[in-house]
Amino acid sequence: MINFSYTRAGSVAEAVGAKSKANGAGRFIAGGTNLVDLLKENVERPRQVIDITRLPLATIEEGPNGGLRLGALATNADTAYHPEVQRRYPALSRAILAGASAQLRNMATNGGNLLQRTRCYYFYDVAMACNKRRPGSGCPAISGQNRVCGVLGTSDQCIATHPSDMCIALAALEAVVRVSGPQGERTIPFAEFHTLPGDTPQIENTLAPDEIITAIDLPESPYAEHSVYTKVRDRASYAFALVSVAALLELDGDMVKSARIALGGVAHKPWRSPEVEALLTGKTATKENFLPVAAALFHDARGYEHNAFKIELGKRAVVRALQLATKGTASIRDVNGQTADA
């Protein structure tokens, strides 16, 4: 870990000002669960760390138009166990609880969850090339150990995935990210927050360097009764997703009024395809109708040496998640999306 100076921001304006002044060499710190790890690995080498934990951004409160506003500094644990999140946005609660460990969820904040970095082995190993860490140095993952890497939206520069579970549910719920910067406040629709690697894998989102996330707005949701987060991983708990699916259905009897499907573990950002979701509109909620949707979601997928299995696994996870969502939120027993009768 390199030596850095430490400042504690007393207001959002102070935090933004300090980040601006640090000229790219400053990092905000809140939960620290990802940043401190990256500091220890020398992946992050800031001159200044700006502590934002004393800012008044930890509340969860009613938002505009029947929605809920999640403070950027509310912890993942406080968010997942919040009665209104559990009641109105059960897939979000499940997704958060499917991620990390209880200790980490007690520390990690909502804003930080959005900004966590990939767990691609090569990004983490400073002895290796990585276009994300050192632009232009190459991507050893493409022909290397790529089991954990992506199969959708990859580029010849980077095949890393976004590691978050929470963000997959937020993408499905079409959350809105509220940010503050020197020019004031603005909002970013979730689909436009994270970016694909393209030729600039070092850029992971559309947040400006001197902007800070202040809250995440959840719009009113008609999906609470049929919301699922299914996660497939190498061990039963405390592992990153190989593939995960947030599936939300609005049903009229057994007919689908609308559907939302977001995929995790497969791309540089939470993966959605609204035009594919629309294929389900007006159809009955059956496996026969789910299968072509799953196939369409992975139509453009490209597997690499050690992760091609994610394509078939992903399709099956989508069908399973949609079947579980049809059955209903209440039928799901645990954080892996298993049902009581499974």
Partner: protein
């Protein structure tokens, strides 16, 4: 802005003054302590290297094993991923602080002894602090919930079944005490 230490970033200079140490006031196991630490000192290193509270263990040092688990303001966290300077004003409870002033073991400690819930013992302080935190969180109602809630604490000896038994015993004792 409360600047604890200044680095020379003016004019894009590559010369950076070594940030100094700053005082951090903590209440550790009920006792108020002020320690001078560098910004990059973790809570784990502060406990072990500055205060000689070596009950809290350094396993992976990356938040993956849970052996560094302590309670900060009543909540279980990984002390290896916590910068000490950020916890100024907090209350910390470590494994040393669970024991009563008269030396009596905490019910969770006693349950680990009763149930033989360890072999080498290295992960045990973290397991016990984590279990105490979990019961406080109120999500320890079934074997599955306990296993899931304790998944952030690895035991490479594989004492998991006995750890589960110990937590259930301590949980039952806690419930009984609360009901009484």
């Amino acid at each position: 802005m409360n600047a604890f230490s200044e680095s020379d970033t003016a004019g894009g200079s590559t010369m950076t003054a070594l940030p100094g140490k700053s005082p951090v006031k903590l209440t550790i196991n009920g006792e108020s302590t002020t320690v001078e630490v560098a910004p990059w000192t973790t809570l784990l290193d502060l406990l072990r290297e500055y205060l000689d509270l070596t009950g809290t263990k350094k396993g992976c040092d990356h938040g993956q094993c849970g052996s560094c688990t302590v309670l900060v303001d009543g909540k279980r966290v990984n002390s290896c991923l916590t910068l000490a300077i950020m916890k100024d004003g907090s209350e910390i409870t470590t494994i040393e602080g669970l024991t009563g002033k008269d030396g009596a073991l905490h019910p969770m400690q006693q349950a680990f002894v009763d149930c033989d819930a360890f072999q080498c013992g290295y992960c045990t302080p973290g397991q016990i602090c984590s279990a105490v935190g979990m019961i406080k969180e109120g999500h320890a109602h079934s074997d599955d919930e306990i296993r899931e809630g304790m998944s952030g604490n690895l035991c490479r000896c594989g004492a998991y079944p006995h750890i589960l038994n110990a937590i259930k015993q301590a949980y039952a004792a806690t419930e009984k005490r609360t009901a009484a």
